[in-house]
């Protein structure tokens, strides 16, 4: 396969996401301009201009009309995907680490960092209610008390019932979006959870952790189902919607990259079998650790964004699509 390299960022990629139909790729990086690309030919549709700091997270609605970005300039912004104009800007007290549109696209969730004496918080807005957006007062604030460590990744649960959060100490929690109470939690990981991605039918999700493992959990019960073990911290993991496969990206930490060679650094994307927990393939390409991976919703291509600032869009060869594990 010939990957398409998308070079629209000057700094390392923080998150990439496909829209629901897979024709657009959203990319955010530690520079202030998130981009949107056509996945088919790698053409850049546009960039969202207005942030003043590293953009940590990006999401779009199911109908690809609105884009949500959270940045280290203490704002979470809502953009019009068609024109790239800013619709709303939500001020926060600290950097926005994770965000997401709900299934319907009507609710917005974001979490803030615990810095400068402010606690880590989850804020929820209903974007249909103009007064909430204009005043900047969320309809619900869930403070993460000091006994819990800060949120490093979060997604919406299925059906707008709860939010799933991954914490710096490896905990996973579910928070009710109406009352703000913690429903249940588990602590199977021992280190920071870098990424959470759901399966296509929202029945389970995969976590990528700094403790060198990725784990598969049941969405409702948080029961650990599978574990994928490597010898390096994992920054991102995604489940294929087409095959029983998992792709994982990682590498050693960014601060240690300059002291090791590319070969030792292990910057390739790794493919594991979902059920057998066995690695079956690798794809090389990035010059630094992979920070974010995402599968196209049809499962026939995937993208990875790395510390090197490039997004690489891979369309699978037939030998991958025909590949099946022997058992």
């Amino acid at each position: 396969m010939k990957p398409i390299m998308l070079h629209g960022h000057e700094r390392s990629i923080t998150q990439i996401k496909y829209n629901r139909e897979g024709d657009l790729i959203f990319s955010s990086a530690k520079d202030p301009q998130p981009n949107v690309w056509y996945s088919l030919n790698g053409e850049r549709l546009g960039s969202f201009v207005g942030h003043n700091g590293a953009v940590w997270c990006i999401d779009c609605t199911w109908d690809s009309t609105k884009v949500l970005t959270g940045a280290a300039d203490n704002t979470c912004k809502i953009w019009d995907c068609e024109t790239g104009s800013q619709l709303n800007s939500l001020e926060t007290r600290t950097a926005v680490r994770t965000n997401g549109f709900s299934y319907s696209g009507n609710l917005v969730m974001y979490s803030t960092d615990k810095t400068m004496g402010f606690p880590c918080e989850i804020h929820m807005f209903d974007i249909r209610d103009g007064s909430q957006i204009e005043s900047g007062n969320p309809y619900l604030t869930i403070p993460i008390d000091t006994s819990m460590s800060k949120i490093t990744s979060a997604i919406w649960g299925p059906g707008e019932d709860f939010i799933l959060t991954g914490h710096e100490n490896g905990e996973i929690n579910q928070f009710d979006i109406k009352t703000g109470t913690r429903i249940k939690g588990c602590k199977d990981h021992t280190k920071q959870i870098n990424d959470i991605q759901p399966y296509k039918d929202n029945s389970m999700f995969i976590t990528a952790s700094k403790d060198n493992t990725a784990r598969l959990f049941d969405m409702e019960t948080l029961e650990p189902l599978k574990m994928y073990k490597t010898e390096r911290p994992i920054n991102s993991a995604a489940i294929s919607p087409l095959h029983d496969h998992v792709v994982m990206g990682g590498g050693q930490e960014a601060m240690q990259v300059t002291t090791t060679s590319t070969r030792v650094g292990k910057f390739d994307a790794r493919f594991f079998h979902l059920v057998f927990e066995e690695e079956f393939g690798r794809v090389k390409g990035h010059f630094g650790p992979i920070n974010s991976v995402a599968f196209h919703p049809d499962g026939k291509s995937y993208s990875s964004g790395g510390e090197d600032g490039y997004v690489r869009v891979h369309y699978f060869d037939p030998n991958y699509l025909d590949f099946s594990c022997e058992y």
Binding site: P3, M5, D23, L24, N41, R44, S85, E279, R282
Partner: protein
């Protein structure tokens, strides 16, 4: 990255005298060819030809509508189609399929197991596939052979001891060339020469070979007095040849016939008599 074009290209736009860019579209093949001209860093005129494959796809309405959206932000000045400064088709990469099933275990086969199929043990009496001491014809054939061997053995051992007949002329002969020059160098030299008679040279060894491997390979032929494996001084890897001293010359002879041409570690071994080092000097 504000305008999407690098400063070099912007300068080129001001340049005059450039042939206008052209576009050709081959409808049958669906290939579009875009030809552009620009000056490179050395001020030379460069023709840039890019070919695109145009594919028509049936997609949902919403995707088609999004495809018609106007570019915005940093991409606003870009013409339709991918901007080569942002979108680069990189080199071909392949998915490397890894199989970490129990394959290594198969490769870790005992090198001696391979030997089993070949004749390394040959009876001196009946030339059978067993040790001489275990020969079933030991009692009947051995006395007979010993008699025969006595006849053949003697001339074989004799040559090294017999030196050319001394010449007696009045001429000056340098000490090295005088009679007995080879003998008189001391006890140690003569014992070494005796050893050389039962020394074989093994070449075409693989780099991973160690002395213990050779020991294993040659021990079945008879007692070994010394194994010398040539190694690189710095890396400690084998240089690909070794000398093996047997106690008995006939053991060495059997080792030559048994192991020469034998496949060991994917290489075919070459075993022969070692040339005495004194002859080379």
């Amino acid at each position: 990255m504000t305008s999407g074009k690098s400063w070099a290209e912007q300068v080129d736009l001001v340049d005059e005298g450039l042939p206008p860019p052209s576009e050709e579209f081959d409808e049958k093949k669906g290939v579009k060819t875009v030809t552009e001209y620009k000056h490179n860093d050395d001020g030379k005129l460069v023709k840039v030809v890019r070919t695109f494959k145009i594919e028509t796809m049936r997609l949902s309405k919403s995707i088609a509508r999004r495809k018609m959206w106007k570019k915005f932000g940093a991409a606003a000045p870009d013409p339709p189609g991918p901007n080569p400064s942002n979108t680069i088709v990189s080199e071909e990469v392949f998915m490397q399929f890894v199989q970490n099933k129990e394959q290594p275990a198969v490769e870790e086969e005992d090198p001696l197991a391979k030997l089993k199929n070949q004749k390394i043990v040959q009876c001196r009496i009946c030339k059978g596939d067993h040790w001489t001491t275990k020969c079933p014809y030991k009692d009947t054939l051995q006395p007979l052979q010993e008699k025969l061997e006595e006849g053949t053995k003697k001339p074989e051992i004799a040559p090294p001891s017999t030196t050319p007949a001394p010449k007696t002329t009045g001429k000056y002969i340098p000490p090295v060339m005088r009679e007995g020059a080879n003998k008189g160098r001391g006890e140690s030299m003569s014992t070494q020469r005796k050893d050389e008679a039962a020394t074989i040279r093994v070449t075409n060894l693989s780099e991973d070979t160690r002395e213990s491997d050779l020991q294993e390979l040659f021990r079945p032929f008879g007692p070994i007095s010394r194994i010398y494996l040539a190694k690189d001084k710095t890396t400690g890897q084998s240089k690909g040849f070794a000398f093996i001293n047997f106690h008995r010359r006939e053991d060495a002879a059997r080792a030559i016939s048994g192991v020469s041409g034998f496949g060991y570690d994917h290489l075919i071994l070459n075993v022969e008599w070692a040339k005495p080092s004194t002859q080379q000097q």
